[in-house]
Amino acid sequence: MSELSRHKRYAVRAGSTGLAALGLTLATACGTPPGDKPEGEGENAGIAEDPQFVWAVTGADRQVHEAVARLWNETNPDRQVDIFFLAPTADEQRQAMFQDLQSQAGEFDVLGLDVIWTGEFADFGYIESLEDLRGEVEGVSLDGPVDSAQWQQELYALPYSSNGAFLYYRTDLIEEPPTTWEELYETGTAAAEEAGISGYVGQGDQYEGLVVNFLEMYWSAGGQLFDDAQQRSTLLEGDAAATALDFMTEAYASGFYAEGFDSMVEDDARALFQAGEAVYMRNWPYAIPLLEGEEGEETAVAGNFAVAPLPTFTGEGTTSALGGLNNAVSTLSENKDLAREFVLWTATDPRAQDVLASHSLPPTMESAYEDAEDPALEVLGGILADAQARPPVPGYNSMSLDLQESLLAGYLGQEEPEAALEAMDRSANEALEQK
């Protein structure tokens, strides 16, 4: 009996612990998930009374997308759109859209696609060809975003938002921003030595950001990943790939790249630059307000930095990789005409594109940059005009995973440059294979 009561005590103790924990958690977490960020994610935003179609788009920058949709609803009260907010991270967005399509649910009419997904969605038969709308966007949208919306020379989406890279530099250490990578290396090394800090921070970790950093140099040396028909890899043609990789290898070995470059992502670079630890930084526009101290964080560089286009190997122009979103029409949509009209409207209506600009999300229409008041936006306009799309081939994700690995091993000197480049060439060709 005492045996029994002992067990009972345990049971009571376990049970009460459990109940206490349950009560505590439920008390703090009753109701539905909270206010600003994840609310509405994974459900319709409910911005239309009688929505005729649904736009699935990332939950990042949601207030911008919502403002765009509201504008459409105001002008088209009989044909309103509702937004389905996806996760802010790329893999999860893609998975949610795949789920909608694979299950034949077809609840999404318009899909907001990352610029590198066009090929995959087209190849899978998930999105409609929009080739007949080419005339509407050519010359109206920036060239780079249009390139990112096509696969094998056929247009499958229309540009919506964009993004490009700046060269951040310290105005107290550098007078004129460099126009070539060599100049950047020399001025950066000298200024770094003098100030006792590092020369350069950027994105050197093994992830998509490294591919972007490499491609920007590779393109600026005249390289192209694929031939025009996107049938085979041209990575090894010419010496652009070797030039870019050699530069990275040299910059890493000599200490021009800051310590820890090989595990650095956007925000690590931003933190170091903000602490006054680097002369140059390659980064997206998001860092500007942080570096100025507008977000309340301590900063050592407020008022002492400026942005410029990235340099090239030839000394002419600039080349940035494009970020951003394109809108496409789902093949399962039951309102394809309406969806097409909406996609075209987000790409080419000046008021829609102005919504983006006024929320600091870079638009894709050329005219949006023409009389920009914000100097950073003006610089960005120049950058985006020459920016390049990462080729949106079906196997882009897989290719990027392989490229990241070879690039890291290559510039760290763990692998011979020739071997690393050959491996990259193989991955690029594999990405084109129609399986």
Binding site: F121, Y126, M264, N397, E405, L412
Partner: protein
């Protein structure tokens, strides 16, 4: 006597029926949720599935597995991780068990604290270790005075997830071994000591052989867990090849690069590998464990 007779009859019939009724929910549930999906996966692995394009291709996905360098890389990673982490966990766990077995003050406290790494979800532990290793801010490097890219260097990142796994599960192994140690009668040691056996001799000729059942069980659980490991590798380096285990590699073809047919071929092969290794263990000790239940019943 008549009464006893009737009880026995009723029991015989009632209990057989009851046994079937009691077993049915568990086995039906496991069959539907675990066994059926395995066959479903095998079915899907015979197709090439790219979005809305699907075609039957027979065993082509399996021949592709056999020529896929990425797959063999994942097999290699999984084996290295399994052998290294299970060995280290055994050594560290044994040391901990011996320490706790010896000690008299603070044993209760230690036995409680040692559970803490084990209850922390692996994904959480993985994030903590990942950031301890991360170059920015560089905690591990500053402690060791090194300058290593723990997350990306193929060799050091493997060392990283192995140490994180050893941290989390060596205590588990220690507890299993400690329970085993406590079943060894003290007299054996006394007798050996009297005969002049050294500490090492006592360990190798008394402790180890008598601990054998506990050791085999600990090794079984750890080996199987290590073979199907996903959390540490994924949190440390996503789908990158440098740490990709079999589970991570299969998942890569589900998510990062959706080829469902091939992904199902990979997960089926993983299933077979884990089962073969597990069965090898169980065939050595399972009769003993299972037999024990049957024996006690008699």
């Amino acid at each position: 006597m008549a009464k006893t007779q009737s009880v026995r009859t009723r029991r015989g019939l009632g209990e057989r029926a009851m046994g079937r009724v009691f077993l049915a929910p568990s086995f039906a549930f496991m069959a539907v949720i675990a066994l059926f999906p395995v066959f479903y996966a095998i079915g899907m692995s015979l197709y090439n599935i790219r979005g809305f394009r699907q075609e039957f291709i027979g065993i082509d996905n399996y021949t592709r597995v056999l020529t896929d360098a990425g797959f063999f890389n994942a097999v290699g990673n999984t084996l290295v991780f399994t052998v290294a982490s299970v060995t280290l966990e055994f050594v560290v766990g044994m040391a901990f068990a011996l320490i706790m077995h010896q000690a008299f003050v603070g044993r209760g406290l230690t036995r409680a604290v040692i559970l803490v790494p084990w209850v922390i979800p692996t994904a959480v532990a993985a994030q903590v270790w990942r950031y301890m290793f991360d170059h920015n801010p560089g905690f591990v490097n500053s402690v060791l005075g090194t300058d290593i890219n723990w997350l990306r260097d193929p060799v050091w990142s493997m060392a990283g997830i192995i140490s994180a796994d050893v941290w989390k599960t060596a205590p588990f192994v220690a507890l299993l071994l400690l329970a085993g140690l406590q079943t060894i009668p003290k007299d054996y040691y006394e007798a050996a000591r009297v005969d002049g056996a050294t500490v090492l001799q006592r360990f190798f000729f008394i402790t180890l052989p008598l601990l054998r059942p506990a050791i085999v069980v600990a090794l079984l659980f750890r080996t199987v867990d290590a073979l199907r490991m996903f959390d540490f590798a994924y949190v440390f380096s996503g789908y990158s090849n440098s740490l990709a285990t079999l589970s991570v590699y299969a998942q890569r073809y589900l998510v990062a690069e959706p080829e469902l047919g091939y992904a199902n071929a990979l997960s089926t092969v993983t299933f077979v590998i884990v089962m073969i290794v597990g069965l090898a263990f169980i065939s050595r000790m399972g009769r003993h464990m299972v037999g024990d239940v049957a024996r006690k019943e008699k």
